[in-house]
């Protein structure tokens, strides 16, 4: 079993619904995004094109963030998820500089004490921010809490209106993700870094 995701760049419309769904699912405060959609502009005026590139932790099979972590806070599960144990992280940010995808977020001390409306938090923020710690590093968890509850999709996948994100088991050759990678030639980002990401892009 190895969870992974396929992202169809032809389908992505850049609406950032996944960004918002992820923030709401995980109760992430201002400036904390486990996933987001980047704009990439190509060409020269007047032939300019804007493309959208959703990014998130790739849950790499050969994860440099895990290798460099001195505390063991970053660890790998049997199902391929790379997670951070918040209670073990000491905030050294070695993983931040080791992740080739720049997908780790450091929560500055005091960062989770401020909500979207300042220091006075909404009831939602009060509940959700309590699940975080400041002074540590966080990242996308592939919605491990949802997987553990038996759900089959991450929050971003469930929300995407264009069906640009597909989640599934990369080890199962008949899963939708495996079939898409085979038929459309899925490509892993920065594969030259030998990280073997679990995210494949279709272009």
């Amino acid at each position: 079993m190895r969870y992974g995701m396929v992202i169809d760049l032809k389908r992505c419309v850049g609406c950032q619904a996944c960004t918002v769904a992820c923030k709401s699912e995980n109760g992430n405060g201002p400036g904390i995004m486990y996933t987001k959609v980047l704009d990439q502009v190509s060409g020269e005026y007047p032939n300019v094109r804007k493309n959208f590139v959703p990014v998130l932790c790739n849950h790499c099979k050969n994860a440099p963030c895990q290798r460099v972590c001195p505390t063991g806070a970053t660890y790998k599960r049997e199902d391929g998820l790379v997670l951070v144990d918040h209670d073990k992280c000491m905030g050294c940010r070695a993983c931040y500089v080791a992740c080739p995808y720049n997908n780790r977020i450091y929560l500055k001390r005091g960062k989770i004490k401020v909500g979207y409306y300042g220091k006075e938090m909404t009831p939602y923020e009060e509940v959700k921010y309590a699940e975080h710690q400041d002074g540590i590093v966080e990242k996308c968890k592939f919605c491990s809490h949802r997987i553990d509850e038996g759900l089959t999709e991450t929050s971003c996948v469930q929300t995407c209106p264009a069906d640009a994100r597909i989640f599934g088991d990369l080890d199962d050759s008949e899963s939708k993700v495996s079939r898409l990678i085979r038929s459309r030639g899925g490509r892993q980002p920065l594969c030259e870094d030998d990280t073997d990401p679990s995210i494949y892009y279709l272009d």
Partner: protein, 293 residues
């Protein structure tokens, strides 16, 4: 359709990105680690117990303090020893801890005692690891190509030896250390040799970084043409290496205490800034730079 990839600041735009997390305090920790361990190693060979003590204190207070201030959760620092099998930070913490234990234990013993030598040798080995591990730490990060070069640990080693030699010369001229005649003759020449070696290594490093791919090239441009060029050429190279080299040649082995103090300050400024700037110009590759979309 061609893609020209920019160096970006904005959150939602694809492109090269500068790393923002490792800067001043990490550079300070690297600096104190190298100067302190270099001084400790040099002092063992001279020998000077005061030099050994000062070296240990620089590593403990300077390096340890900077790391402690930097950590998001400083009181969990002890957890950083958990994974020496794969993490250079864990190896560095072990080396630093063992250097302290063995170094202070050796200093508490009289020179002739049976444990003095084994403890001192062990402390020197640990000090050597403290001096070079940041180089391996930076090299082991595949994310930032300008750091990802085999010259990094070599550069750390030479800067550590240079820092140690400079500190020994400074302490000698200030009257805190006494050197034998042999070392009094050797040390100024060693300093000169190390300054030339460091200058060559920095030049080789710069030449090598041009060929570390597009992100490495971005870093190189930031360092030699971009916003960091002025501090790089003036402080890291000008003050830290060229000025110290010229002053050392001009003053010769019988330099006055004031001249040696000036050389020491210049050398330490250059030492701090070269690693600070190399951290600052660390650039990540664009995630999907390869896609022809």
């Amino acid at each position: 359709m061609g893609i020209s990839i920019p160096l970006v600041e904005k959150e939602f735009v694809a492109g090269f990105r500068q790393q923002k997390e490792w800067a001043g305090l990490i550079a300070s920790a690297f600096f104190f680690g190298k100067v302190g361990s270099g001084l400790f190693i040099m002092s063992v060979f001279l020998p000077s117990r005061l030099g050994m003590l000062v070296g240990l204190l620089i590593v403990l207070v300077g390096k340890g303090g900077a790391h402690f201030l930097y950590l998001g959760r400083p009181w969990r620092f002890w957890r950083g020893m958990a994974r020496p099998q794969s993490s250079w930070i864990a190896r560095g913490i072990w080396a630093m801890g063992l250097m302290m234990v063995a170094g202070f234990a050796a200093l508490s013993l009289p020179v002739g005692s049976s444990l003095y030598m084994p403890l001192t040798i062990f402390a020197v080995i640990c000090a050597f690891v403290v001096a070079v591990y940041d180089g391996f730490l930076l090299t082991s990060s595949p994310a930032i190509p300008i750091w990802n070069t085999a010259l990094m640990p070599v550069m750390c080693m030479f800067y550590s030896f240079l820092g140690g030699t400079t500190m020994v010369l400074f302490m000698t001229h200030m009257g805190f250390m006494e050197l034998s005649e042999k070392f009094t003759a050797i040390l100024p020449n060693l300093e000169l040799g190390l300054l030339v070696a460091n200058l060559l290594i920095v030049i080789l490093f710069l030449i090598g970084s041009i060929n570390t791919g597009s992100a490495g090239r971005e870093s190189f441009d930031l360092l030699v043409k971009g916003p960091y060029a002025v501090p790089f050429f003036s402080l890291a190279i000008g003050v830290g290496l060229v000025f110290t080299l010229l002053m050392s040649i001009y003053a010769g082995p019988h330099a006055s205490a004031g001249t040696v103090a000036l050389i020491t300050v210049a050398d330490l400024i250059g030492h701090y800034f070269i690693f600070f700037l190399l951290l600052k110009v660390g650039v990540f590759k664009p995630v999907l730079g390869f896609l022809k979309i």
